[in-house]
Symmetry: C2
């Protein structure tokens, strides 16, 4: 599978139908891009296949060479966050999931263009009204076919509250409250579900300062100097190189 | 933003055009799914918008209520891996990127349904012919608008070689070789690029056993008991809870 850094032939190419040539501009990969401005006879797009669609457009591609297509795949993952918020009394902030009887940590989908740490802060605010500061990604989990054919990346984040008055806001949540850590750990679902158990084990260790997750650090990417956030073990980064 | 665990009204609904009703089945969220088996007049889909497309289908949705749509977004992230392979001589395995003069660690896009650790092993094999064992995610980086409007998650993985003879296979790679760690760190790009610098700093620490990334652990997910992999600080997980 090719990635973005490598030279690539784009599959959107000049395509003749009879004597007609679709209007196009050349791209940087040796292919061409057909820009549609007026409705065109669907027959012109014979041989094309769907690549991806967003609310406002549908992209079709056509790979001409005999070789295997190296057109990059469409986005493959949905990204979600779960937020553990611990206050000084070793209480976790929980929301009661409507109709389920289960107290759960705030969770939600990361919006398009949103940073993981920002999504965790937003979800806690939306579900409980509490302001928080991001500390660490404690762990993450990858599963497949969780959303049509797409995969799921679930980042478990630890946050520190900067306000304490709960104002339940989200419709999906029946109630929100600070819950003593021991009570949340003793919910039946915590014992039944392996991921819940691991999260509680990590939180127990964290309260004793015996666990290090990944903190965030602004950075620029490999080739295009795009701004982004790197998540890494910052505590160990301060270790001396001997 | 709603996530998958919460009750949700699906936007694909019964839709009348004149006296005609599109054939549908009810879904579990109080909406309906229109299954197309024969070509239908496009006019029937007035009011619908694109949701997403894969090579073999295009999905349209229509949100009927006055309230804001809670239809989950399409997949938002492309996932890539970069693989650092260190042998016992403290040499890293590098590929020379065709035409660029830059020696780079093997990188590539995670395939649909592929685990992060498996993608790292595959990329090293494809680019150099070397077999490896996954050790840890050392860090990860999130950037936005790296692929159309989509975001990018780049996982930097550490692997241990289980074979040593290089057989360059990938067309994108001009050459592949084991390179002394110091030489790879002294490439001009390493000094210019912040992410390169951080990776080298982490590798230096790692060689002295002074850095802990996230190792993998098979697990089941929150609600649907789906199998997945959790990535977490396993070394700290062995700490005692006092």
């Amino acid at each position: 599978m090719s990635d973005h850094e490598t030279p690539m032939v784009n599959g959107v190419v000049e395509h003749k139908i009879g004597e007609e040539v679709l209007p196009f501009v050349e791209d940087e990969y040796g292919g061409v891009i057909v820009e549609m401005t007026t409705p065109t006879d669907p027959k012109c797009f014979e041989g094309f296949r769907y690549h991806h669609a967003e609310p406002t457009y549908l992209m079709l591609v056509y790979w001409i060479p005999e070789s295997e297509s190296t057109i990059p795949l469409n986005a493959s993952h949905r990204v979600r966050v779960g937020a553990v918020v611990l206050n000084h009394n070793k209480e976790e902030k929980y929301g009661l999931l409507r109709g389920s009887g289960v107290w759960k940590i705030p969770t939600g989908v990361v919006d398009e263009g949103e940073d993981i740490f920002a999504a965790a802060i937003r979800e806690v605010k939306e579900e409980t009204g509490i302001d928080t500061e991001f500390l660490e990604v404690l762990a993450f989990c990858q599963t497949h076919e969780s959303f049509f054919v797409k995969s799921d990346l679930f980042f478990i984040c630890l946050l520190r509250p900067t306000s304490f008055d709960i104002q339940k806001q989200d419709l999906e949540i029946e109630a929100a409250q600070w819950m003593p850590f021991e009570d949340s750990a003793s919910q039946p679902i915590t014992h039944k579900n392996e991921l819940f158990k691991v999260i509680h084990r990590i939180c127990s260790l964290k309260m004793e300062k015996n666990y290090t997750g990944f903190s965030k650090k602004p950075t620029t990417t490999f080739f295009d100097d795009k701004l982004g956030y790197l998540y890494l073990n910052k505590q160990d980064m301060n270790n001396p190189i001997t």
